[in-house]
């Protein structure tokens, strides 16, 4: 998904301007011109300058805002993007409630089953094994509190 350089340059320049504006109140060191705002302002100025340069460079192409160049069709790519985002959101929101093992098994089964075109048995077996390995490695060996969620009450 190629976005016009003109547009990208403007976004970068805008980000730079916001950075400069956001660093205006950072205090300087005592008896110095420099302080916590120096570097952010310099970075902001760099973004504005180089962003505008990119925008100028992209000006001849301004009529084409977006070009799809990938070999895979746009709907498929967008669907994959949405699936990854939704998977991560589901993980973050559901693991504290349902626990890691349950969320991991369901999520992996759904993803592998969907991507493999409906090989649900394979998906289920891989999901179960992978969840067990990750649990053993991270929760048991490395002591990462992955959380059992509602399974905590069932097991203990």
């Amino acid at each position: 998904m190629r976005i016009n350089d003109f547009l990208l340059g403007l976004v970068m320049a805008l980000l730079g301007a916001v950075t400069i504006w956001g660093s205006r109140n950072f205090p300087s060191m005592p008896r110095q011109d420099y302080g916590a705002g120096t570097f952010p302002s310099l970075i902001g100025a760099g973004l504005v300058l180089l962003g505008l340069l990119l925008a100028i460079r992209g000006w001849p192409q301004r009529r084409q805002w977006l070009v799809w160049q990938a070999s895979v069709a746009m709907p498929r790519t967008l669907l994959c993007l949405v699936v990854v985002i939704v998977s991560m959101m589901a993980y973050v929101l559901l693991v504290p409630v349902l626990g890691f093992p349950m969320v991991s098994v369901v999520l992996l089964t759904l993803l592998i089953g969907w991507l493999s075109g409906g090989r649900w048995w394979l998906a289920g077996i891989v999901a179960g094994t992978a969840t067990m390995v990750i649990w053993l490695a991270f929760a048991e060996l490395l002591r990462v509190p992955l959380g059992l969620g509602i399974l905590h009450g069932v097991i203990y």
């Binding site: 916590a36 192409q61 070999s71 990854v84 992996l108 075109g117």
Partner: protein, 500 residues
């Protein structure tokens, strides 16, 4: 001598050896699968190394990356698809040898030359790093400021076809590094009232997001659309390899040294080293017309160079704390998380650790031989793992790894955001390398600049007062002039439509 014995004792412990073996097998798997790079292997390993002592952590990353680069040669020779970008220079050569019935020999040369190049790189690293460290011990904040800035600038210049986009990517990385408490004044910056951002953005979600999630987003839509062809069977690896190596011994030595030197340059890594060595070998060859048609000479030169470059990149990383490529940037991040700040002081203060790191390098390169043979033998099985299974597992591993940083779900949000950012940037030809170097080097540049300014009461001209600082500063400014010039030239040339 005592330091060397101590180092040997440190390396020859069960935990280090076991970690190296496991990491090498992991690197082998990731490297052999087209699309998954050595940097991605490192990024995926970091959450696990987070729980280790400094030496096993480095040992894991060194073994995994060396093995990934070697394993990347396998799909190149078998399927004409390089497993990692470092193998791209000689993929055609190895594939053509395979078509002539010499697939075993091609992979044997890859393997043997990788070990030879790697050992040359380690020897140079072990010999020169302490010498450079002795010299660097006189450096002050002025030299470190310019050196870090020079590293960043060179990374931008060699990052790709468009230095302007490289520079913008670097500035975005610096902006990420500014979030959190300023190390000099204690001022909170860009935290937006989020308590998790007070200590800054952790390096782990940045690495996993930019390298693993962004790559996953790019690869996932291809699942089911482009299946890999079935690879041919490899027979008689190593037959005739000794003869070829002896014949082209000069190429091995030259490429080993050249690869190490290129690896030591900021921004240039294993892929650039193998391209340059291949081109140089072709130019110096008595039979340049045979290149590209299955000629072992090009294979020997480029295979030696990419593994040597891996070791070379550690010279600036260990001596100055300035990473030469993305992998060493990750290593520096890991060491800093463990309270070890790479620099010349480590060489005098903790000589055992430095020697142990050199030994780990040597061992990792020697391990390539048996494990590489295993990789060649099991290539058919590795390449038959369906991406439909692999990618969801990588996604789950990324989420668990990011969470493990601070045991906080906030890190997963960060990883997602940065993954999406990385995806859009790569899709639009922005290189990611300068960004990650900037995240690591940003605080070093700023802290040393502020130290110098406090020392000189804000007199900017004093940054050029010391001779080495003046040379480094002039070089950095020259590189920036080149970047701006390349950007302006690009602006003048931009008359082509977007779709071309």
């Amino acid at each position: 001598m005592v330091a060397l014995t101590d180092a040997l004792m440190m390396v020859m412990s069960w935990d280090v050896l076991l970690v190296m073996l496991a990491a090498a097998v992991f690197g082998l798997f990731i490297g052999a699968i087209p699309g998954l790079t050595a940097t991605m292997a490192t990024a995926l390993l970091v959450p696990v190394t987070f729980f280790m002592e400094p030496l096993p952590a480095i040992a894991a990353i060194v073994s995994a990356t060396a093995m990934a680069i070697v394993a990347g040669d396998i799909p190149g020779a078998l399927l004409r698809i390089p497993g990692t970008p470092a193998s791209a220079a000689y993929t055609e050569e190895a594939y053509q040898m395979g078509r002539q019935g010499l697939i075993g020999q091609a992979l044997g040369i890859n393997l043997a030359c990788s070990v030879a190049g790697g050992v040359i790189g380690v020897a140079i690293l072990a010999f020169f790093a302490p010498l450079v460290a002795e010299f660097a011990i006189q450096f002050t904040s002025d030299e470190y400021f310019w050196l870090a800035l020079l590293g960043l600038s060179c990374a931008v210049l060699v990052s790709g076809a468009d230095p302007l986009k490289g520079a913008l990517s670097m500035l975005l990385g610096l902006l990420i590094a500014m979030v959190g408490m300023d190390s000099v004044s204690g001022q909170m910056r860009f935290t937006f009232g989020i308590p998790e951002l007070l200590s800054g953005i952790s390096i782990l979600p940045v690495l996993i997001g930019l390298f693993a999630i962004a790559e996953l987003l790019r690869r996932l839509p291809e699942v089911g659309h482009a299946e890999l062809p079935r690879p041919p069977t490899v027979t008689h690896p190593f037959r005739g390899v000794g003869k070829q190596l002896w014949r082209y011994k000069g190429d091995v030595a030259r490429s080993g040294v050249l690869g190490t030197l290129i690896g030591a340059l900021p921004g240039a890594g294993a892929d650039i080293a193998s391209w340059i060595s291949y081109a140089l070998s072709r130019r110096l060859s008595r039979t340049p017309e045979k290149y590209g048609k299955g000629h072992p000479e090009g294979l020997v030169a480029a295979s030696s160079a990419n593994n040597a470059a891996l070791s070379g990149a550690y010279v600036p990383a260990l001596v100055f704390g300035i990473p030469g490529d993305t992998i060493t940037a990750i290593i520096i991040g890991v060491l800093m998380m463990k309270g070890v700040t790479p620099g010349p002081d480590v060489f005098t203060g903790d000589a055992s650790l430095v020697n142990a790191i050199f030994l780990v390098f040597l061992l990792a390169n020697l391990l390539l031989l048996p494990l590489g043979l295993l990789a060649v033998r099991s290539a058919r099985h590795i390449l038959s793992v369906p991406p439909a299974v692999l990618y969801p597992l990588i996604l789950m591993f990324c989420m668990v790894g990011a969470f493990a940083t601070n045991n906080a779900m906030f890190e997963i949000w960060l990883m997602l955001g940065l993954g999406l950012l990385g995806y859009f940037l790569v899709e639009n030809d922005f290189p990611i390398g300068p960004m990650i170097l900037a995240v690591i080097l940003g605080p070093i540049v700023e802290a040393n600049f502020m130290r110098s300014m406090i020392k000189y009461s804000g007199d900017l001209g004093m940054l050029f007062d010391r001779p080495i600082a003046a040379v480094l500063g002039s070089l950095a400014l020259l590189v920036w002039a080149c970047i701006v010039f390349a950007g302006l030239r690009g602006a003048r040339r931009a008359r082509v439509p977007l779709s071309s």
